[in-house]
């Protein structure tokens, strides 16, 4: 199994604090040592870092912990290999381009006997069930919409597609195109919104606390989503099984 971390904000924000705790689960407070990856959108642009070394010790993770990259949409993943060898091409997040936008995807869970028909042009490079599901989702999105639809339309399509894939097993996933962050829960996912009035927060996996009131403006809004809560003193809300939650500009879009 693996763990997921996502962030969606209304203003470019760094993820150094959250990633520092999350990365400890790759060997210190967790067993997810089979590679990691993190994707940062900057507008339409994307930085995608992957490493087959553990996030706890990888030089790439050291960079991430020390270089406060400002982003409105982040997806990170630490891997415990189940399907697919420990190789770079099997590290999440995966990326494809559709409608002139990058799409980034990470998955936690196993899909059993999952062999969708890929008749379009999205093909997996590695050997994970996760990348296979991503390619199928991209194919079906491209079939369902001629060009980039609204976030509401995309969310409807993704909700249907998530249900189809979920028949094959555990399908906790995060997907972003740099505008919105879609998150789907089968077994475990929690979310949290940080907004005015900001408070301090203490990491679950590291002896570290931050007073966000010192680092923010009244208008900032940040949504965080993770497999397990990252802090001990904030109101993380669990997802229900089968829920797809959509975040945009740091806001959980309740009725979409």
């Amino acid at each position: 199994m693996c763990q997921l971390l996502g962030m969606n904000c209304n203003t470019p924000t760094d993820i150094v604090f959250s990633f520092t705790g999350f990365a400890n689960r790759a060997g210190k407070t967790g067993i997810h040592t089979d590679g990691f990856g993190i994707a940062f959108f900057e507008g339409k642009g994307l930085r995608l870092f992957v490493d087959s070394q553990p996030a706890l010790t990888s030089p790439v993770a050291v960079l991430i912990k020390n270089y406060p990259i400002q982003s409105e949409n982040v997806i990170a993943h630490i891997r415990k290999a189940t399907v697919g060898e420990v190789r770079l091409e099997n590290c999440h997040p995966f990326c494809r381009e559709l409608w002139g936008r990058y799409w980034v995807f990470s998955h936690n869970g196993d899909l059993k006997n999952y062999a969708p028909r890929l008749h379009s042009h999205f093909r997996p490079v590695g050997s994970t069930d996760s990348e296979l599901a991503f390619c199928w989702i991209m194919q079906e999105l491209a079939k369902a919409h001629a060009g980039m639809p609204s976030i509401a339309e995309l969310s409807n399509t993704l909700r249907e597609l998530a249900q189809v894939v979920s028949r094959y097993g555990t399908f906790n996933f995060m997907l972003s195109n740099g505008v919105a962050l879609w998150t789907h829960c089968t077994t475990s996912l929690f979310h949290l919104t940080r907004q005015f009035p900001f408070k301090s927060a203490r990491l679950q996996d590291e002896d570290m606390a931050v007073d966000f009131s010192q680092l923010t403006t009244r208008d900032d809004r940040v949504a965080l989503i993770a497999t397990e809560p990252l802090t001990t003193d904030e109101p993380w809300e669990p997802y229900s099984t089968g829920e797809l939650k959509v975040f945009m500009k740091g806001e959980y879009l309740v009725d979409i």
Copy 2:
């Protein structure tokens, strides 16, 4: 204009020495300060680092200079913006997936009045003529071949496509799928093969020399390709205008 650096080897090799000199051209010995990028294939897997900061000072470039990533195919690019703003999505190299393989592309030069018809599914994310040309090449490759063809067939198709794009201006480019490295010259490109017996080499852009005989085995073979020679004491060979050279396992494939 921009500068290109490529490496193709028969055994995974790091590019720390060459990149250190190359990165100096982003502000110290050259003016290519509008972002940079570097792509490393590890088998089918890919690491793609981009930054809109100069390679001379970017924290990502510091990582590249200190983390000896072993790769058989590398493409690096330092940018001097001409078409397209200084934004992350305009940083080379660009990446797309085709036939279950990542393809990575960097370009140096300007294309004038270049507006190819994109009727397939490869679309630019940024606003450079380079990414536009890349998308067109991927579209035409996908049209010309039903699945992954041989390196010889790919080279024939790419030679024809390069000629078409070259009508619009300067089209020095590098393209790799992790197996081969295709390089095309309009105005300036040089290549070099390092093989047994290895010697020492001194950088053009930094007071640094390496004795490769201490770091290699008899079987190692490394091809380096760059816009301008990177070392002062090695036999860099210039390309002719319109030449497409293909490298595989560190070898320049003469008759392909």
